[in-house]
Symmetry: C2
């Protein structure tokens, strides 16, 4: 069985994973998921990227937005507001169950890795879902107003601030399960997620870059930038603000020291030659994941590109 | 302003309070509420009697059952079950907000008294709602199978076990706010709640019986037993199991050392003379609280009886 490790942020990664489990044995897939977006709301531990992956692979995600639960209601949130709780981070009633359950187990001393493993089994998911770290690694973003927590930037301020600098604190290490998944992988896929605040925190974990570079796996990255803009989220604005070109080429430069192969959208086919001057093989294909078929096709294309 | 302190359990007490605030200035009322039924579910602090009083006075209670939120949904609970959480204690989505909010503030170091005061203000309630204690006083019930926690007996086992003994642990003290409410009261009402597991824990608090006996207030108790059975809950079975007569007279004997006046239902009028042989003035009136009018009438009758 060919083993596949996928470095994951939220929506884009979850959709690629949903494609991957259609084209390979789901048990061969290890999703290594960013947790530096995790935060506490109403005293509950919220893991946005983990839950997006869980809900998507569990078939309960709200497809129209790519995250959160389908058929969601917000009755608890309305009452939390009445009690004066801050509610800029919206939490639905079904979603709340994940946060309550996770928080209870974490407080009881269970690792996030073990908590998430129980949750993915409860949702009938066969692919492994591995938090990148069990430590409290958190993304901080520097804006004109100083350093703020990621969710403050991302949700409360709706990514309106120009990002001047990003850091992850405190320094954290990948879990043993993540190190093993990297070492055992035949293919490592860098999902089409934000290179700075989704993939960045995973790569910033102690020893992670070296582990990927020294792994026997072929590494393929999929561009989250199509036609000069991000499919979703602030990746485009961040590339620009941090001095990178807002294009698939800009992303390829960020990953050039790790990925042997780079998948970009067919509408960026003109950039193939520029990417290849970085010493990276470039493959243009359809990368927009509208439905199950396009997700499966992109997953297959990425695996094929990696193995070529 | 005549000050009124009410010793309270759940549904019966909440309904009497709803009557009381119709006939006196709500700001003159201090509800002293049992917290020995409190427990933790899903890692959240649940205060059943406090919430029944909050929801009833806040006008959001499910009237058909007397507790819980009106128009409640159970979406979070269904997902908690999917994650393997025990769900014999049902928690609705709207109700969950109270538990989440309370738990967050308690973990941050706030007293239950201050948490509940914020919640009653948020619900627009002018009467003060005072947890009997801020300590973790808990009711334990001894059955044929040994000592079990109150909610285990009450909810999970549906009061099916014969109760052989009741204890409250650890020993706890009333709050300063409760001691002041007792000392300042002109009338102390013992609500028609379970004498053993609702009023009992309040009276078991350190110094509480002496504080009531030495208070200048007139003390009036309202019988929760009508026509030889409890209006609601296991009070009848408990009276029998603990060797008491299952009647208003049996209840009057329990309170005879504290209450100068005892209000019983008009259908128990034949017991008035027996109650009075205990040295307690007995008043028969309509005690079944079907609607706002009957609640107000009972509250007024209790105040009148106390002052006569």
């Amino acid at each position: 069985m060919r083993r596949i490790a996928v470095l994951c942020g939220g929506v884009g990664a979850a959709r690629l994973l949903a494609g991957l489990v259609q084209v390979v044995d789901p048990a061969s897939v290890a999703a290594i998921v960013n947790v530096a977006d995790d935060d506490e709301f109403h005293g509950l531990h919220v893991s946005p990227d983990i839950d997006t992956v869980l809900y998507t692979l569990g078939g309960v995600v709200e497809e129209s937005q790519g995250w959160g639960r389908r058929d969601e209601t917000f009755h608890a949130q309305a009452e939390l507001a009445r009690f004066g709780e801050e509610t800029w981070f919206r939490v639905g009633d079904r979603d709340l169950a994940a946060h309550i359950h996770r928080t209870r187990l974490l407080r009881a001393g269970m690792s996030l890795t073990d908590v998430v493993d129980g949750m993915r089994r409860a949702l009938g998911i066969r692919a492994r879902i591995l938090p990148a770290t069990d430590a409290a690694q958190r993304t901080m973003v520097r804006t004109a107003e100083g350093w703020i927590a990621f969710q403050e930037y991302f949700v409360r301020r709706r990514t309106a601030d120009a990002v001047r600098e990003i850091r992850f604190e405190p320094e954290a290490a990948p879990t043993a399960a993540v190190r093993a998944a990297i070492a055992e992988a035949d293919v490592i896929v860098i999902a089409p997620s934000n290179p700075f605040v989704s993939i960045g925190p995973i790569l910033a974990l102690a020893g992670m870059r070296d582990a990927i570079r020294s792994a026997r796996a072929k590494v393929v990255a999929v561009s989250p930038i199509v036609g000069g803009a991000a499919i979703k989220g602030p990746a485009g604005a961040m590339l620009a603000a941090l001095g990178h070109e807002v294009s698939a080429l800009g992303v390829a430069r960020v990953y050039a020291d790790l990925a042997a192969t780079f998948v970009l959208d067919e509408q960026d086919r003109a950039l193939v030659r520029d990417v290849e001057t970085l010493g990276v093989r470039a493959v243009a294909t359809a990368t927009i994941m509208r439905d199950d078929a396009s997700r499966a096709a992109l997953a297959q294309a990425a695996l094929d590109a990696a193995s070529r």
